[in-house]
């Protein structure tokens, strides 16, 4: 056994190790879900701000015509609230982006760990295969000798070699199973990394669009507060609305695209993880049967 890089994992140990990675994988997919909620909240918040402004412009025109002092106050108040809500949504998105960056770094660490473990398992599987082959050759040679001349001593040697062969075969199977399982997990994690990269890019674009919309809202608020005459107010509001419509449209487009993309891919990755688990379960079943058979053989020896 000492010739192996690591001790072979029993099916239970392997499943525990795989479950550890699967759990982290699932947590990261859940994280993508929070990012998705944040972007949809931003979209809804900015749309609400724009609707308020569109609605209030009507009221504003009426108030201007009635020569009320500072008719913009209700609009300023409503927009201030919307502005703060939008700041919060853009901040939330920023925090989600940072969390996504951490996830991406952790996924990379996981991939590296999986690669190392899978490579070790592969090397050990090869070592075990070689040991198995050597044992089989010895067994075959012994068989030939026993055909010519057999005695109790040779029988004992044969039993010992038989037991060794069974052990090597188990080790070989275990290393092989470990390598295959870890490789499967690494593939899924690489796909997750791709998803995180794509989503990071989209969220950053959305964050930029959101920040631009926020800047427009803030400068609009400042001019709105300062507007002295009804004519100024009207002109300012009309042009700000036009600007805001453009930035909100951009936010909505990116948010929708990104959310659609995410829904599709997260579901797919979750399905794949489940399939991998199901495959592992059936493999585990097969393993258990083989182990039981081997144990029966050992008992007979």
């Amino acid at each position: 056994m000492s010739e192996y890089r690591r001790a072979p994992l029993t099916p239970t140990q392997l499943e525990a190790r795989a479950a550890e990675f699967a759990e982290r994988h699932a947590a990261r997919l859940k994280g993508l879900g929070s990012a998705n909620r944040a972007q949809m909240a931003l979209k809804a918040g900015l749309q609400a701000a724009m609707e308020t402004e569109e609605r209030e412009v009507g009221v504003l025109e009426m108030l201007i015509n009635l020569f009320v002092e500072k008719p913009q106050t209700p609009l300023v108040e409503a927009l201030t609230a919307h502005h703060e809500a939008a700041v919060q949504q853009v901040r939330a998105l920023g925090h989600q982006i940072e969390a996504l960056e951490t996830d991406r770094r952790l996924v990379n660490q996981d991939i590296q760990a999986l690669n190392t473990d899978a490579l070790d398992a592969l090397a050990d599987a090869q070592t075990a295969a070689l040991a198995l082959q050597t044992t089989e050759i010895k067994l075959e040679a012994l068989g030939m000798r026993r055909k010519v001349q057999d005695n109790a001593d040779l029988q004992a040697q044969a039993d010992q070699l038989e037991a060794l062969r069974a052990e090597r075969a188990t080790e070989h199977r275990r290393f092989f199973a470990t390598q295959a399982r870890l490789e499967g997990l690494a593939i899924l994690n690489r796909e997750l990394r791709q998803l995180l990269n794509d989503q990071h890019e989209r969220l950053c674009e959305l964050h930029d669009a959101g920040t631009a919309a926020l800047k427009r809202m803030a400068s609009h608020l400042v001019t709105l507060k300062a507007a002295a005459s009804a004519r100024d107010l009207h002109r300012e509001t009309e042009s700000a609305l036009k600007d805001l419509r453009t930035s909100v449209a951009r936010v909505c487009r990116v948010a929708d695209e990104s959310s659609h993309y995410l829904t599709e891919h997260v579901d797919e990755l979750e399905d794949r993880m489940r399939t991998l688990d199901a495959e592992a379960a059936s493999r585990r079943q097969a393993h258990a049967e083989v182990e039981a058979a081997l144990n029966r053989v050992r008992r007979w020896q």
Partner: protein, 258 residues
């Protein structure tokens, strides 16, 4: 002690201004040196609201140094005391069919980093207020009116309120903390008290920052007292006094720090 806290304490703010200790705590929560900018004040507030969700999100990343640092930031914010809008109406007296109240309204304009406390002493008919022990509640339309007027100056609020039938305005005080000017050794923080009251007959305005302030006309019968004061680092005190003299202002200057 943090600069913002030193400056706030030096300003000697009484109860006509927003609570300076909460302001100092909020300033500390922004993590900014000096006097925080509007966006910093706002950021602390929105991050505090986002903290529970983010702490849950960061739970899965426990052990990662970056994530741990961010968790510490959100945990700190959760505990921080931050300024918020607030209104209370205290009962002053009830006489026959009239009620007199003291209305206190904190309006925190975080994006502008200006913090206002309104203290109004107003009288009105009993149907304008619902009295409950020592507290009172105002009729919704009156509350709304005051809320809208609170965006404006003390005189504008007083004039706007006087137009409401049955309402008598005894006193309107507007205590504002901010803005701050950047000085050579630190922020020059200012606070301004603006008062329109029955007993204030003269117009006394001394504020180099309010150039377009609406002042009462002589025939309106209103007076206005509007004065700013400053807290500046000790080493800037002379420069601040010289600047004020240059502006034709006799604002008080308090020094803070060594």
């Amino acid at each position: 002690m943090a600069v913002a806290r030193q400056a706030l304490r030096a300003l000697r703010l009484n109860r006509l201004y927003p609570d300076w200790k909460t302001l100092a705590d909020h300033a500390a929560a922004t993590g900014q040196p000096g006097w925080p900018k509007g966006e910093d004040w706002l950021r602390a507030r929105v991050d505090q609201r986002l903290a529970p969700e983010m702490l849950e999100r960061l739970e899965d990343q426990r052990g990662d140094p970056t994530a741990d640092a961010r968790r510490a930031y959100f945990e700190g914010l959760m505990k921080a005391r931050l300024v918020q809008d607030h209104a209370t109406i205290g009962l002053v007296r009830v006489e026959d069919d009239r009620v007199e109240v003291e209305w206190r309204l904190d309006r925190m304009d975080l994006p502008q980093a200006r913090f206002v406390r309104w203290t109004l002493r107003v009288g009105g008919p009993t149907d304008a207020f619902t009295v409950d022990g020592t507290q009172a509640q105002a009729a919704p339309e009156l509350t709304r009116r005051i809320q809208l007027l609170s965006w404006h100056s003390a005189l504008e609020l007083a004039l706007g309120l006087e137009r409401v039938p049955g309402i008598v305005v005894h006193e309107v005080c507007r205590g504002e903390v901010g803005p701050a000017r950047p000085g050579p050794s630190g922020p020059w923080l200012s606070a301004c008290l603006s008062r329109v009251a029955e007993h204030v007959r003269r117009v006394v305005v001394d504020d180099p920052l309010s150039t377009q302030l609406l002042v009462p006309s002589s025939e309106s019968g209103h007076g206005l007292s509007h004065q700013r004061k400053w807290a500046v680092p000790t080493t800037d005190a002379n420069a601040a006094r010289a600047w004020l003299a240059d502006q034709g202002s006799r604002n008080l200057v308090y020094a803070f720090g060594d």
